[in-house]
Symmetry: C2
Subunit: 150 residues, 2 copies
């Protein structure tokens, strides 16, 4: 059983996380670009309008700052008797928080959430250099990610 | 420029596709299980209630039978200035329709749809043995798919 450090919490994303470092944390994954509070609110509103699909989580520290972020996108399918798949997306941990196993905790909780939502599997795409980390989270290699960029 | 054979059409999924071989076509990808017309309608209704997220397409032949299926799931993100990603899912072509390049046409159209929806990329997960096919569709390898099965 995995635990968070004292004073740390995992909870759903809130609009107030804009001023608690949400985007700065996300920026450690990839380019976030120009997103002001208004854009941020629009996206959070959109996500909250589809609560069965979008589940966006944050880990905060003892000062309520966002130190890790991650999302679960629940996709409803016809295959496997109308089953669901959980897509784990946009995982980021603030670099100065390494060594606290926040990423491991977050992934395990997102997998647990996918299970609670009735998914038959949880999947994600990653750089081959991160395979070892995801294996530590209990996942295994399933296939290749192919892309077309515009 | 790619074309469909005479009398073939690409269009959005309809409930009537239940009796036109939708599930039999999908079955060539993976196990579909026990899905009756009522279950099918429920899922189609659910997809149609989220039209910005779920785009489910079929190719029909000159007898209006479903010969290929594929879906685009549009995910709204915060990264890249609130960009979208198109997830290409559940691609299947009826085995007796091989050689007509239906799969190639379908993938290209789903990529085009992702572009029209404003996605910055279209991605999919596949078995390594299908990499060559997706490269022919203009895609390239981006990463690994990791999974956790319940
Ligand atoms: C498990 C995880 O966090 N995977 C992320 C994915 O969710 C994210 O959307 C993408 C952005 O990369 P990009 O900026 O190169 O498109 O990177 C990784 O694949
Ligand atoms: C491009 C494409 O069609 N990829 C499919 C994916 O969409 C589908 O959901 C999965 C089902 O496999 P499963 O039955 O082993 O979970 O197979 C492939 O990865």
């Amino acid at each position: 059983e995995q635990h968070l450090p004292q004073g740390y919490n995992l909870r759903p994303l809130e609009k107030e996380d804009f001023s608690r470092g949400y985007l700065q944390t996300l920026e450690t994954l990839t380019s976030v670009g120009d997103v002001d509070q208004e854009h941020f609110n629009d996206i959070v509103d959109y996500w909250k309008s589809q609560p069965k699909t979008y589940k966006n989580m944050v880990i905060t520290d003892y000062e309520s700052q966002v130190v890790a972020v991650g999302s679960l996108i629940v996709e409803t399918k016809l295959i496997h008797s109308c089953a669901k798949v959980g897509h784990i997306e946009d995982i980021a941990v603030r670099p100065d928080q390494q060594g606290k196993k926040l990423g491991l905790y977050l992934i395990r909780q997102l997998i647990e959430l996918a299970k609670e939502e009735g998914c038959y599997k949880a999947i994600l795409d990653c750089d081959p250099k991160n395979e070892g980390f995801y294996v530590k989270c209990g996942m295994s290699r399933a296939g290749l990610e192919m892309e077309y960029r515009f």
